[in-house]
């Protein structure tokens, strides 16, 4: 047994050493990362969100200055996975506030009783059409974003072809084999686009529409990254990958992002948006049932719809503010587009039919 013992001793020593090392490091990081000056334990409020959550350091510091609470952010996978984890840990949540449930998943969150009602301060300034839970205030709307077909400007200029504008256009022979979209079963822009088509053609007509799209050569890939970076010819990655699809399902804010993250910044965005193909996503935040720091969580919800946070959001998460009077950065107004009449479907209807819609879409388009 000496082998075992000796191994144990060396290895345990190594583990303790390494653990201590890592422990030091990470406690350093949490100190600097939280950015607070008086970050004692009880003064921390934890925000659970999906991977796409981003806020600038400055705005989180501002919250600490105003309220004394330090924000700790926990990201946990994509939007669907993050929400499902909250549902599983209901009653014993990992944090105080959850941010990132959208209108396509809202009913699942509400039916599971995930949130403690709280009417955030400043709600009066929030546009009423996004307040989908106005009667009970279990969730607070924070931002909106439009899922739309983007097009590669250069491709259509070279071909002297007008880019498509609407759902109908996409099924026309002129645009054969040009569109790439995401799997509606695994990707939220993919689902959004499917819901947009359902809003446009109705529950009876959407299958016919997708049959036409399929005949017109629509390509389906699993996630946004592949669609946008590898198949779409208008994106930076797509150009390098010699991608061949000049139409992609993405966001209305993608063109401004192409401008922001280019060096040098071009005068016009390389991509455009087909404005009549948009589906509106609304993202909500809520106070988690069983939150340890309820007061802090309420303060954070107030802050999320404050002008400071709302104006910080667009360039961090590339979504639009919901609070009236919050300034949208020039980059958005100059290079971006907002849909005049975005498609919407009521959360209850989505909740009731999502499974079945996605299932029949899968067997129709993917298989």
């Amino acid at each position: 047994m000496s082998t075992t013992k000796k191994l144990a001793v060396t290895a345990v020593a190594a583990a303790i050493g390494a653990t201590a090392l890592a422990g030091c490091g990470s406690s350093d990081d949490s100190g600097s990362g939280s950015g607070g000056t008086k970050g004692s334990g009880s003064k921390t409020v934890t925000l659970v969100s999906h991977d796409s959550f981003n806020a600038s350091k400055g705005v989180l510091k501002e919250f600490t200055r105003e309220t004394g609470y330090t924000v700790k952010v926990l990201k946990s996978g994509d939007a669907g996975a993050a929400l499902n984890q909250e549902i599983l840990t209901k009653g014993s949540p990992r944090g105080d506030v959850f941010f990132g449930v959208d209108n396509t998943l809202l009913s699942r969150a509400l039916d599971n009783g995930l949130f403690t009602p709280y009417a955030a301060k400043g709600l009066g300034q929030v546009a009423s059409d996004v307040q989908l839970d106005a009667a009970k205030h279990r969730v607070t709307p924070v931002d909106t974003g439009d899922i739309c077909v983007n097009y590669d400007k250069k491709y259509f200029a070279d071909k002297k072809l007008a880019p498509p504008k609407s759902f109908d256009d996409l099924a026309k022979p002129a645009y054969k084999n040009l569109l790439v979209t995401e799997n509606a079963a695994t990707s939220s822009p993919g689902l959004g686009f499917l819901l947009g088509s359902i809003a446009t053609y109705g529950q009876d007509g959407y299958q016919d529409y997708w049959k036409k799209l399929k005949d017109n050569g629509v390509k389906v890939v699993d996630g946004w990254e592949q669609a946008y970076n590898e198949a779409f010819s208008g994106s930076a990655g797509g150009k390098k990958a010699k991608a061949d699809r000049p139409l992609v399902v993405s966001y209305a804010s993608s063109p401004p992002v192409e401008v922001l993250y280019a060096d040098p910044q071009p005068k016009t965005a390389p991509t455009g948006v087909a404005t009549a193909t948009c589906f509106r996503q609304i993202e909500f935040a809520g106070l988690l049932d069983g939150a340890k720091n309820e007061a802090g969580g309420k303060a954070l919800l107030d802050f999320l719809i404050s002008k400071k946070f709302q104006e910080d959001m667009p360039l961090n998460m590339f979504v639009s503010p919901v609070t009236k009077g919050a300034k949208v950065p020039e980059l958005f107004t100059r290079f971006g587009t907002t849909a005049d009449k975005p498609a919407t479907v009521a959360p209850d209807t989505i909740a009731k039919n999502r499974e079945q819609w996605v299932q029949s879409w899968s067997s129709l388009v993917v298989k």
Binding site: M1, S2, T4, K6, L7, A8, A11, A14, A15, A18, T19, L21, A22, S26, D29, S30, G33, D51, F53, N54, S56, K57, K72, V73, L74, K75, S76, G77, G80, N84, Q85, I87, L88, G95, R108, N183, A185, T186, V220, V221, D222, G223, Q226, Y228, E230, A236, G237, K240, A241, K242, S250, V257, E258, Y261, A262, D263, L315, E355, V366, K367
Partner: protein, 537 residues
């Protein structure tokens, strides 16, 4: 034995049983009828069938391509061998999103094959199979080659002197000695390809789905826990069956082997046949592994106005990434190394203890434990991750928001590697050597130090290398818990790829290149440690 058992009970069995139970219990009563319901669905059957046959095909193809490589790396000396051995391990740590990009460039439209012969393999099963070879080449080269290089070639020579033909000598002498390592490697490749996730999603497109992809979809997207639980059980059963077969083949073949210093067995190739073999292997490595990696490096340097280091410079500043990161992405390197180091240490402790216990004891219970140790490779990260959430939620074990959860989850996947690489070597140590040492008056500790340690040191380092590489590249578990100010390299790459824009894409490629370098350098360092001490032999 107690340490690994406790570790697995708390961090694996308990969470997994809890989440499966959540899916299969209704009001405290097990609903086993759900198993039949789910399994009779045609879409699920299709998934099962595809999972099985693509894994078998991938394993066969990987063995076919990588076994000659294992031989060449074990028996031949050539310049740059150490470097190349480190490089072939690099794919192992790369995020699948990144590899998908490289493979599409190679196999997709306008890719290498398309340009030369007009062949396109994207969204075919061939892309999946080739990517699986790319990922698992190192598994075969390292596990089989590691043992092969320590087999005494004089035994085979002796057989030939006694009149056996070249092939007969190899079949009678070398093959039986090698069989457990080949079986172990094949088993690992099978497990990895059976549970393939990212490769299938990205290269196969939504038309292909493995069990693992389906479990992820059912759990993370649909929260259909009953279906997920049934699929998890099916995966369990499949993995269990493979392990049983494996255990049976190993028991029949196991013998104490005479192990020698690898430095003595490798020599320069002689004759046209050996040179041709070496060239063939090097060409395969070049096309299958180096080329995809080179494409990533090229893209990381491909700035809008020509080639340069602009994307690397951008990685150093948090300002250029204000929207994506709180800290400069470059800091992810340090985070990754720290997590991987802790995970490797845990994996070595748990895996080393388990391997030692398994060598010394026999019996059904121990063999069962052996199988249990392999199960983490066959259970999806999302099952374990969601299991953690609902079990480790009360003090003193409320680890759900603790950084330690990352290395713990990574170690869980590292342990099977440690056990599998250590076991053949530990079992091959001739007990009589130990007895001889004892007879000569050595204390058990001394006997262990003088006999076992020198023989297992190499295996230990190979195991550490694997555990480290796995931890460095781990994404599934890390993404659930890594904090925004503490991203690991793969998490940072994924976040950059999740954004449009030239700068983000370029930085993702640059960061992937850095991940490759970090991995290659770490593995080279590990091999150096061995060289420095080989004088003790």
């Amino acid at each position: 034995m107690a340490v690994p058992v406790a570790f697995f009970a708390v961090f694996f069995a308990y969470p997994v049983v809890a989440i499966v139970g959540r899916g299969l219990k209704d009001g405290g009563v097990w609903q086993f009828g759900r198993i039949g319901e789910v399994l009779s669905r045609p879409d699920i059957r299709e998934v099962l069938w595809f999972t099985l046959w693509q894994a078998l095909a991938s394993t066969a193809l990987t063995l076919l391509i990588a076994l000659p490589g294992a031989y060449v790396f074990a028996r031949f000396d050539f310049p740059g061998k150490q470097l190349l051995r480190a490089v072939v391990t690099v794919p192992f740590v790369l995020p699948t999103v990144v590899v998908g990009t490289a493979f599409l460039a190679l196999l997709g439209r306008g890719g290498f094959l398309d340009d030369l012969w007009g062949v396109r393999l994207d969204t075919t099963v061939w892309a999946i199979l080739l990517a699986h070879v790319f990922f698992n080449y190192a598994v075969v080269v390292r596990t089989v080659g590691g043992l092969w290089s320590q087999l005494d070639p004089r035994q085979e020579e002796a057989a030939r002197v006694l009149g056996a033909g070249r092939f007969a000598a190899w079949r009678r002498v070398t093959l039986p000695a090698l069989a457990p390592a080949v079986a172990a490697a094949a088993l690992m490749v099978f497990l990895f390809t059976f549970t393939s996730f990212g490769v299938v999603q990205i290269l196969g497109g939504p038309g292909f789905s493995t069990l693992e992809v389906e479990i992820y979809r059912q759990t993370a997207q649909l929260l259909a826990l009953p279906t997920a639980a049934v699929l998890t059980l099916v995966q369990f059963a499949a993995v269990g069956a493979i392990l049983a077969v494996h255990a049976w083949t190993v028991r029949r073949r196991e013998t104490a082997l005479k192990l020698v210093d690898p430095a003595q067995t490798a020599r320069r190739p002689r004759g046209a046949g050996q040179w041709a073999l070496l060239t063939g292997v090097l060409l395969t490595v070049l096309v299958l592994i180096l080329l995809p990696l080179a494409i990533l490096v090229e893209r990381s340097l491909d700035l809008p106005g020509g080639h340069g280091l602009g994307y690397y410079r951008a990685l150093g500043s948090a300002a250029a990434n204000s929207g994506t990161f709180l800290v400069a992405p470059i800091e992810a390197i340090w985070n990754s190394l720290r997590y991987a180091l802790v995970a490797t240490a845990i994996a070595l402790v748990v895996g080393g203890l388990a391997a030692a216990a398994l060598t010394r004891r026999a019996g059904r219970l121990v063999r069962g434990f052996d199988a249990l140790l392999m199960l983490p490779l066959g259970v999806s990260a999302v099952t374990v991750g969601f299991g953690f959430l609902i079990t480790l939620d009360k003090p003193p074990l409320d680890l759900r928001t603790s950084w330690i959860l990352v290395p713990l989850a990574q170690a869980l996947v590292g342990v099977p590697f440690v056990v599998r690489t250590m076991l053949p070597v530990l079992r091959a140590v001739d007990g009589r050597l130990r007895e001889a040492a004892a007879v000569l008056g050595a204390s058990p500790l001394r006997a262990w130090r003088e006999v076992d340690l020198p023989l297992v040191r190499r295996a230990l380092l190979v195991a550490a290398g694997f555990a480290f590489a796995v931890s460095l590249g781990e994404f599934g578990a890390t993404v659930f818990i890594a904090r925004p100010d503490n991203p690991t390299l793969p998490v940072a790459v994924a976040r950059l790829l999740g954004r449009s824009g030239d700068l983000n894409y370029g930085q993702a490629m640059a960061l992937s290149t850095i991940l490759m370098l970090v991995c290659a350098v770490s593995l080279l360092l590990l091999e150096r440690i061995r060289t420095d001490r080989s004088g003790e032999f």
